[in-house]
């Protein structure tokens, strides 16, 4: 754990974060840069709000649903599902990837929320052995470049890629024009609030990591992280990914208050940075061991800069971790401490 590590005096980014520098007041370069770019960010968010309204108002309905919502059962995606239905009036298909590690309390939330909102719900559970093999390979080999992992742990990145690819398959097969997810700014860049999910264009950026995963796990990774040519070659128009939570000026407490009437309650068996997945504590532990900083530092620091969270609350979140879950998770993924030391050495040897 990184309890005593030097951190920015305004946010929580720590001295091991890539390219960080502190000024004489202990304020990091990311905070100093953010204070200069707030006006530009505000204008980008205003433009995104207009574009979202335009997209939803002018949607051309060619299938049964307006949007597929990537629904993990966590507070953010629950709020997104509520916004999609109640604020934007979309006919949605909620989709949950069951990775085998969703907390039981989160499943109760999922069932209450989809029933409460009256939406169709589709659960996809990858074969347990295949999922674990992909998660293991992600944690103990250098599947991803360092810069990809500044705001996300390696296992989370593979899992979210699986969610994104499955959601895109659903959207293409069912001719759904929009894909929504519970991302916040800090998790994704501001220019990615709305984008066309152009599979072929983005395939280039995934090639290296897919090749590494194939080498470790086998061609089965293609079933979860690729889309077959037969489907892609028929695409006339890719769906838009629309991250509607990024344009909402809302605190975590306000989100929890808004979804409480649906019966959503905070699960007690996950860490402070997740409200659904029991892998998170382990993922953060590996990231800290390998890179020396917590993968939530950037996201939480963004919320602090936006005035949506206090520094004390953010520190509380990254320090709230059920460490007793780490060993059982390691055992379930057949990972030993030496595996983590080995991947750290590989990353340390890279520029």
């Amino acid at each position: 754990m990184l309890n005593n590590i030097e951190r920015c005096s305004k946010c929580i980014q720590s001295k091991n974060f890539p390219k960080i520098k502190f000024d004489e007041n202990g304020v990091c370069n990311f905070c100093n840069k953010a204070s200069k770019s707030t006006e530009i960010e505000a204008s980008l968010i205003d433009n995104a709000k207009i574009k979202i309204s335009d997209l939803f108002d002018n949607k051309v309905k060619s299938g049964e649903y307006d949007a597929v919502v990537c629904y993990s059962g966590g507070k953010d995606s629950t709020y997104v599902l509520k916004l999609a239905v109640e604020k934007y009036g979309l006919n949605v298909l909620a989709f949950t990837l069951d990775n085998g590690y969703i907390a039981e309390a989160a499943w109760k939330n999922i069932r209450k929320v989809v029933d409460g909102l009256g939406v169709d719900h589709w659960v996809y559970r990858p074969g347990s052995g295949n999922y674990k093999a992909i998660a293991r390979a992600s944690a103990v080999t250098d599947v991803y470049r360092k810069n990809t992992l500044t705001r996300i742990s390696a296992i989370c990145n593979s899992c979210i890629s699986m969610v994104n690819i499955t959601a895109l398959k659903i959207a293409l097969e069912k001719k759904i024009p929009f894909i929504l997810a519970g991302f916040t700014l800090g998790q994704i860049p501001i220019n990615a609030i709305i984008y066309k999910n152009h599979y072929k264009f983005l395939a280039d950026s995934r090639k290296e990591s897919l090749d590494k995963l194939r080498k470790e796990v086998g061609d089965v990774v293609d079933d979860y992280l690729c889309i077959k040519d037969e489907l892609i070659n028929e695409v006339k128009e890719y769906p838009h990914n629309v991250n509607i939570l990024c344009v909402e000026d809302i605190t975590e407490t306000e989100i929890k208050d808004a979804i409480a009437p649906l019966g959503w309650v905070s699960p007690g068996d996950v860490d402070g940075c997740s409200s659904n997945c029991m892998l998170n504590t382990f993922n953060n532990y590996v990231h800290e061991e390998v890179f020396g900083y917590n993968p939530y530092e950037m996201e939480l620091s963004h919320l602090i800069r936006e005035g949506l969270m206090t520094r004390t609350e953010a520190l509380g979140k990254i320090n709230d971790r059920p460490v007793e879950q780490i060993e059982p998770i390691m055992a379930s993924l057949s990972i030993e401490k030496n595996d983590i030391i080995a991947v750290k050495n590989v990353y340390d040897s890279k520029p």
Binding site: P18, K19, K33, Y144, R145, K146, N147, T148, T150, I188, P189, N191, A192, Y195, K196, H198, K200, F201, L202, D204, S205, R206, E208, E237, Y238
Partner: protein
């Protein structure tokens, strides 16, 4: 706008956004292959070019031929501006 100004604008965006120094950015290599950007980086760059140079980037523009290096992006901007 000259190609030098376009280059400066794109380099400045890459430096500010992806935590790299200007001398670490190759002009003729893929930013993905160099480990400077990931998939979100491609999305950001396409969006940046649209907004910074007021050009429409369409689905057919989204290829490695257009985004495979800084110089290829400058050539794309140049073509789009010439056709405007």
């Amino acid at each position: 706008m000259s190609n030098e100004v376009n280059l400066e604008k794109i380099l400045s965006f890459v430096v500010d956004t992806y935590m790299v120094e200007i001398d670490e950015i190759p002009l003729d290599e893929s930013l993905i292959d160099e480990g400077i950007i990931d998939s979100f980086g491609l999305i950001e760059l396409a969006s940046f070019l649209e907004k910074a140079f007021l050009i429409p980037i369409t689905d057919t523009d989204l290829t490695r031929d257009n985004f495979g290096s800084i110089n290829k992006m400058i050539a794309l901007v140049d073509r789009k501006k010439s056709n405007a």
